[in-house]
């Protein structure tokens, strides 16, 4: 009997079986949690319900949530428990079946959720100081640039009138009117008494370059913005796509960057938005730093 026992122990197959058994029990012992009935137990307490509530409303304030749970009526609390249990059951069963693996939708959902959670850090943003505002403004001034603007009135002499057989003869008439305008120092509001009706406006008050160029053409825009401007006086004629124009300019501002005092609230909103993005980026980077990236096919 003893011989047979030893003989059997020497048998490699038996040895492997015994080692296998030992390993099996070891694993059962180490991971006993997985094999206990716990996997078929769903633990519910007020803390879990509070957490569940917070996840549902996506507002994370544990203290307040805990208070709310305490205020729940029995029926309300039971309804939350039922909800949680139903969800947890489906979730565990699905996970047990590995339904979450290789599922692009779930992957994307989880990514979105993490992304959303990262926005929760917005509250950590420090208050923006005067100094921060100035620094940001100095660095990003170009973003606040205002386009060139101009204020003028004009007297228009059209090309396509029957009395003019050429652009030049229309220019002659424009020259004569210019003389009258200058000699009599005709003011802004009386420009309408001279020349012909233009297609669009008589007066352009604080208009930007784009509008001037759409109404008069590119070349005209360039010329009027290049006009000398020291004191208001009649100038021209300048040629547009439609005819000749005599100009009385009263205001011209080149493109400029408004001072911080003028656009403080806009800059503040931009600083806050930038910080939110930064906080979120940092939160994601922090998570990423936990991982070692192994690229087996990395190109040199």
């Amino acid at each position: 009997m003893k011989v047979l026992y030893r003989k059997l122990l020497k048998e490699p197959l038996i040895q492997f079986l015994l080692i296998g058994l030992a390993l099996f029990f070891c694993e059962r012992w180490i991971n006993q949690k997985d094999y206990s009935d716990d996997q078929f137990r769903i633990l519910v307490n007020d803390q879990i319900i509070a957490q569940f509530m917070q996840q549902q409303v996506k507002k994370f304030d544990p203290l307040k949530a805990q208070q709310q749970v305490e205020l729940l009526s029995d029926v309300q609390r039971q309804r939350l428990v039922d909800d949680y249990v139903r969800g947890e059951t489906l979730y565990r069963e699905a996970k047990a079946l590995n339904l979450d693996r290789d599922d692009q939708i779930i992957r994307r959902r989880l990514m979105q959720k993490m992304d959303y959670l990262a926005q929760g850090f917005y509250d950590d943003i420090d208050a923006v100081t005067e100094n921060d505002l100035t620094t940001y403004y100095n660095l990003n001034q170009q973003d606040y640039k205002k386009p060139s603007r101009i204020t003028f009135t004009h007297v228009y002499v059209a090309f396509d009138q029957k009395k003019h057989d050429s652009e030049a003869s229309a220019a002659l008439e424009a020259g004569e009117i210019l003389k009258i305008l200058r000699e009599n120092n005709i003011p802004f509001e009386q420009s309408g008494l001279y020349g012909q009706r233009f297609l669009y406006n008589r007066n352009y008050v604080n208009r930007d370059v784009d509008e001037i160029s759409s109404h008069f053409g590119q070349a005209f825009k360039q010329q009027i913005f290049d006009l000398e401007f020291e004191r208001p006086q009649w100038q021209g004629p300048i040629k547009s796509s439609y005819g000749w124009h005599l100009i009385l300019m009263t205001h011209k501002e080149q493109a400029y960057i408004p001072p911080l005092s003028e656009i403080g609230s806009i800059v503040l909103a931009d600083v806050q938005r930038q910080r939110q993005q930064k906080v979120k980026r940092q939160a994601i980077q922090k998570l990423q730093s936990k991982y070692e990236i192994i690229d087996r096919d990395q190109r040199q």
């Binding site: 409303v57 939708i105 959303y116 004569e176 309408g192 009706r197 669009y200 759409s214």
Partner: protein
């Protein structure tokens, strides 16, 4: 020398006039869109707009580059708008978007209802994630009437389907708060105006009764209510009652703008009310209080005149013959669908009960669902996001196989004569109907009526000044006069500064005679040179300069400006009448032509190649 003294005398005479009416009292023209949907509208979201929210809409309108919601390209409007209303559907406002983008917390229902909701949402999610969201949209559309009664709401198919989400007030509240806050952020008085609004989307049995509701007030008032949707009631009278009640409660002001009457199955401007009852003075008064203007042209078709209007060579313009239904049914154009016939119906009803329920002004708007208000044919980004690129335009839209992206065109704009570009002034101009419609180009149109304008008024330097001094502007009433034989109309139309020349200006007159019979007549009143009116009153076509290989046109035909005084040659001071102007551009390329060129496709496939863009003034009414 002679010229000098003549001018001098002129100055002396006119100086008094200048002083009496300072020019800052005059109106300026502003162009905008009162009807635009963002990703918060259920149908925008289900048709691939999942990211162009109100902020994108305002940035685009103000002329900034933005990201297109579907193809992610950088896109930019060519000429920025002066004002914009983001008017998302009130029905389940933002709810579907928020659920499927996982930002919504749905209220608890009973077990069975929750389960049904879960199944429905999972199915919808699956369809959306697998790129078939438009099927979910089509599924939710109404079905044509099956009963024989007049009232479509009472029809078995007139009932709205309840998607069973439970109480969505909280989600809608959050979304509305964002819409309001975004509008506030972008409103810059004098430069750019954002008006707060929404769309009431009543479509009983496929009859389009939609209205955009707008308010000139800001967040302080707008956060005191949630938009009224058709899930509460599909009857316009209930909408008006809610507007009245809410005005009283919050001190705000409202206006409702009907649109797409072309798809209303005759109900938008019926001879009777929606319930089939006689229109009473009370009904007419309430309607005119809340609905002084109508959106007459937009991407989903033009509603100016019946497609088969007799003697109107330019009728059947961008006719859109597809009802908003889960499956198509034969389109039939009815007098209640088009504004010209509606204006005539209004005169007849007035003859009967003393008040005209259809005495409205006209505007255009886009009704785009991409968040991008695009009314430019060469820069058109679709009705929905999923028909915004040439290669996706040939698919069926809104459940109808015969209907695709080329069945529609880039239209329209609301033009407003206002003193300033502010919420108050624009709303005021809407209320006095001093507004007009264009199908996209920024055509400038002035129209005034009077019993006598000064001689040479049409060539005067400042038509506006003469118009306001001697007459009434578009949208107004011309009262009877004993001194004159016929009313005079002073008009001036100028081409879009960066657009095509003008072909002609027409006057459209409608009237009701002593026997109660309705009439209409179209007069060509100003046109570009080189053509004469023939013995039948017809004017030769202006021609066509569109290069079929590039889509470019030449302004070698047409006129940059048309101005005239027109006197009604067939005036009868005993007949009530309305007069509105129609301005036609020279032909230009339709978006479908650019697509055909880009796709190197057959022209038949992409539909009409050229389009004759136009503007419609609000009418001026004559009452004996």
């Amino acid at each position: 020398m002679l010229k000098y003294s003549v001018i001098g005398a002129f100055i002396l005479i006119t100086q008094a006039v200048v002083a009496a009416s300072p020019s800052d009292q005059q109106t300026k023209v502003f162009f905008g869109d009162t009807h635009l949907h963002s990703a918060y509208s259920f149908d925008a979201f289900l048709n691939d707009n999942d990211s162009a929210f109100p902020d994108t809409a305002y940035r685009w309108a103000r002329g900034l580059p933005v990201i297109h919601p579907t193809n992610r390209a950088r896109v930019q409007i060519q000429t920025p708008l002066d004002f914009l209303v983001v008017s998302d559907h009130a029905e389940y406002l933002g709810v579907i978007t928020e659920i499927h983008q996982d930002r919504a917390h749905l209220e608890e229902l009973g077990f069975w209802a929750t389960f049904k909701r879960w199944v429905r949402l999972s199915m919808a999610s699956f369809m959306i994630d697998s790129g078939r969201a438009e099927k979910v949209f089509t599924f939710g559309l109404p079905k044509p009437a099956v009963g024989s009664g007049y009232d479509p709401v009472a029809d078995p198919n007139g009932v709205m389907i309840d998607p069973g989400y439970g109480d969505t007030k909280k989600i809608r509240g959050q979304v509305w708060a964002d819409i309001v806050a975004t509008a506030e952020r972008h409103n810059r008085p004098g430069v750019f105006t954002s008006l707060i609004g929404w769309e009431w989307t009543s479509t009983p049995a496929g009859a389009n009764l939609h209205r955009v509701v707008i308010t000139p007030d800001g967040a302080d008032k707008a956060t005191q209510f949630l938009p009224f949707g058709s899930e509460i009631s599909q009857y316009p009278k209930d909408l008006w009652a809610w507007l009245a009640k809410t005005e009283e409660r919050t001190g705000t002001r409202f206006m409702a703008i009907p649109h797409n009457s072309n798809l209303s199955k005759g109900y938008m401007f019926g001879e009777v009310t929606l319930e089939g009852k006689k229109i009473t003075a009370d009904y007419a008064q309430t309607r005119m209080l809340y609905e002084p203007i109508v959106e007459v042209t937009q991407i989903k078709g033009d509603s100016e005149s019946l497609p088969n209007s007799t003697n109107d060579y330019f009728a059947d313009f961008e006719t859109y013959e597809h009802y908003l239904q889960a499956y198509s049914s034969t389109y039939s154009a009815k007098p209640g669908d088009y504004v010209r016939s509606a204006l005539k119906t209004g005169l007849s009803i007035k003859k009967d009960i003393g008040i005209n329920p259809y005495k409205f002004g006209m505007i255009g708007s886009t009704d785009s669902h991409t968040g991008l208000s695009s009314a430019e044919e060469n820069n058109f980004w679709g009705k929905y996001a999923n028909d915004s690129t040439p290669e996706t335009k040939d698919q069926a839209i809104i459940g109808d196989a015969d209907n695709n992206g080329w069945s529609m065109s880039a239209s329209g704009l609301a033009a407003v004569w206002a003193k300033e570009n502010t919420r108050e002034e624009i709303f005021a101009a809407f209320q006095r109907k001093e507004v007009y419609a264009t199908t996209g180009p920024r055509i400038r149109l002035q129209m005034f009526a009077s019993w006598k304008f000064p001689e040479q008024a049409a060539t005067a330097v400042d038509i506006g000044k003469i118009g306001y001094t001697y007459g009434v502007p578009m949208g107004g009433d011309l009262m009877g006069s004993e001194q004159a034989d016929a009313p005079e109309f002073l008009l001036r139309a100028v081409k879009d500064p960066v657009g095509a020349n003008l072909d002609r200006v027409q006057m459209i007159k409608g009237w009701v005679d002593a026997d109660g019979v309705q009439h209409e007549k179209i007069y060509n009143i100003a046109w570009s040179s080189g053509r004469e009116i023939d013995s039948e009153g017809l004017l030769a076509m202006v021609g066509d300069t569109v290069d079929r290989t590039t889509g470019n046109y030449q302004n070698t035909i047409g006129a940059s400006e048309l101005a005239t005084i027109w006197v009604d040659p067939e005036f009868d001071d005993q007949q009530q009448a309305f007069y509105y102007a129609r301005v036609l551009q020279i032909p230009t390329a339709r978006h479908s032509m650019y697509d055909a060129i880009a796709l190197q496709a057959e022209r038949q496939k992409t539909g009409k190649s050229v389009i004759q863009e136009r503007a419609y003034s609000s009418p001026i009414w004559y009452t004996p």
